[in-house]
């Protein structure tokens, strides 16, 4: 029987991992991820989860350990955040190149310096090129459900690619909501045991993690790219199957909310989409044609779905908790690329906010829609890349 409990995002994530029955959990605690690994170690201690819990000495070791375990055909889990994720960076490409379907939870948190433990998305967005599938969840239920789907997608023999599930630090990891916890029977029906040929086997000895020089290297990268692109349809298949078993249907790689006839669309990802949604509802109630596009997957990037949602808009904005210094927010770059591929040209603004856990208010999102309307009318009231709380046009005349 499924049950309902009042859980934080971290706890929901731990419940999802428990239901996935990993053989090995290796992790190093870091705020705001700590509760995930505390709960998992308690589950192992109590016997609720029959896994080897490895207390490693660093995040680099955590992922190395998960990779070594995956080499034996084990289902593996690790979790980290911010500097810990950056410390893992070397191993991220190892795990992806070896095609080990490790699932990792990342609590999105600011990167140093200045030192800061609060939420933004600069940690994972800096690592989009390392070959991991990257998903960003909206709430605690999605966090739990995404853990089960992550294993199903990552371990699909057509994909065999590691999977990073991103939860906004504190906004999701430490916020409590009622979450439905599926039964183990349901989880087992949805997620079969991991089987792979990509592992050590005494009967059929293999060499793993070898080198490949210039002559062959490109083939490995090509295959990894193709597998990641193939994940697009496997994600949809998996969500379909998930809905059949659990009765909750997720909207695919993007969630287009009231975008169909929208003049102005705000594109964002993670927990802030919840607030943006209520602003969209309020403005729709006043007859304004606005929409919200929530990106659920940054890798593979849903080019076609993003372009389809923005088709016909007069202007769009991307709100993200990231800045690639000297350029723009990385999500903005990716969205622009999707439109360029589709041949769409429209005015756009990039709203960089929430850095280091800074609050993004309803008034900010209202301001974004106003700024988009004036941009579409040809006015230039701000730079294309706007820093919320610094040079946002709706700040004019107000105390910062």
């Amino acid at each position: 029987m499924a049950s309902r409990r009042f859980l934080s995002g971290d706890e929901a994530c731990a419940e999802g991992v428990r239901l996935a029955r990993p053989h090995v959990v290796s992790a190093y605690p870091i705020t705001p991820q700590t509760v995930v690994v505390e709960r998992l170690s308690e589950m192992v201690e109590r016997g609720d989860l029959n896994a080897e819990y490895v207390h490693v000495e660093s995040e680099h070791s955590a992922l190395c350990c998960a990779m070594g375990a995956s080499c034996t055909g084990a289902r593996t889990f690790t979790a980290t955040s911010s500097q810990g994720l950056l410390y893992m960076a070397e191993v991220l490409s190892y795990a992806a190149g070896g095609r080990f379907p490790i699932v990792m939870m990342n609590a999105n948190r600011a990167t140093a310096l200045p030192w800061n433990i609060y939420g933004d998305q600069r940690d994972s967005l800096a690592l989009l090129d390392h070959g991991w599938i990257q998903a960003y969840v909206l709430d605690n239920q999605e966090a739990l459900d995404m853990m089960l789907m992550a294993y199903a997608i990552a371990e699909d023999p057509r994909i065999s690619t590691p999977f990073m599930v991103n939860l906004d630090g504190f906004a999701i990891t430490h916020t409590y909501e009622t979450v439905e916890i599926p039964s183990q029977e349901q989880a087992d029906e949805f997620l079969p045991p991991y089987e792979t040929a990509n592992r050590f086997d005494f009967e059929n000895p293999v060499n793993m993690g070898y080198s490949a020089g210039p002559e062959y290297n490109r083939y490995y990268k090509y295959c990894a790219h193709k597998a990641m692109k193939a994940a697009e349809s496997v994600i949809e298949e998996t969500e379909e199957r998930f809905a059949q078993v659990f009765g909750r249907k997720y909207p695919g790689m993007v969630e287009a909310y009231r975008c169909d006839d929208a003049d102005y669309v705000l594109v964002t990802l993670g927990s802030i989409a919840g607030l943006a949604r209520s602003v969209v509802d309020a403005r729709r109630a006043e007859g304004q044609k606005v929409g919200l596009l929530r990106i659920r997957y940054m890798r593979p990037f849903p080019y076609a779905r993003v372009a389809a949602a923005l088709e016909g808009a007069k202007a769009f904005g991307v709100l993200e908790k990231d800045i690639s210094f000297g350029a723009e927010g990385t999500v903005f770059t990716n969205v622009n690329s999707a439109l360029q591929r589709a041949g769409f040209v429209m005015p756009s603004l990039n709203f960089v906010g929430g850095l280091g856990g800074d609050d993004i208010s309803e008034a900010d999102i209202d301001g974004m829609f106003e700024a988009l309307a004036s941009r579409a009318a040809g006015e230039k009231t701000c730079e294309q890349v706007v820093f919320l709380g610094v040079d946002a046009p709706w700040m004019a005349g107000k105390e910062a």
Binding site: A197, N204, N207, M208, Y210, S211, E215, V234, R341
Partner: protein
Amino acid sequence: MEEMETYGVPANAPAIRIPTLQDTQLDPLQFAQSTCFPAGHLVTKNAGWRQVRPVIDPTACTACLQCYLYCPDGTIRKTHADPVDSTQAAVFVDLDFCKGCGICKRVCKFDAIKMVPESEVD
């Protein structure tokens, strides 16, 4: 929107499959699906930029092994040839790794090594 790419998984999508050394044809699009392979070290020849190659005259070679000691890339190996056997030199050059630098020719006191342009061999 016609030009928009759509990505489906083709029915014949390559799942991870570990090739065997008995496979008659090793297709990189198959084995590059993972880094898991029987004896799967892919040897890379590291000699692509060699313009001239050392050719050893076994009748002049005295097995002094100076070339073997001086080769900066360790590409010269000792053979088990009898030093008085003039049909087989005491050393041979691993051409998968020789860069053609000519140091072996330079140190050879018996003019037993000639540097021959690649275009004139094979």
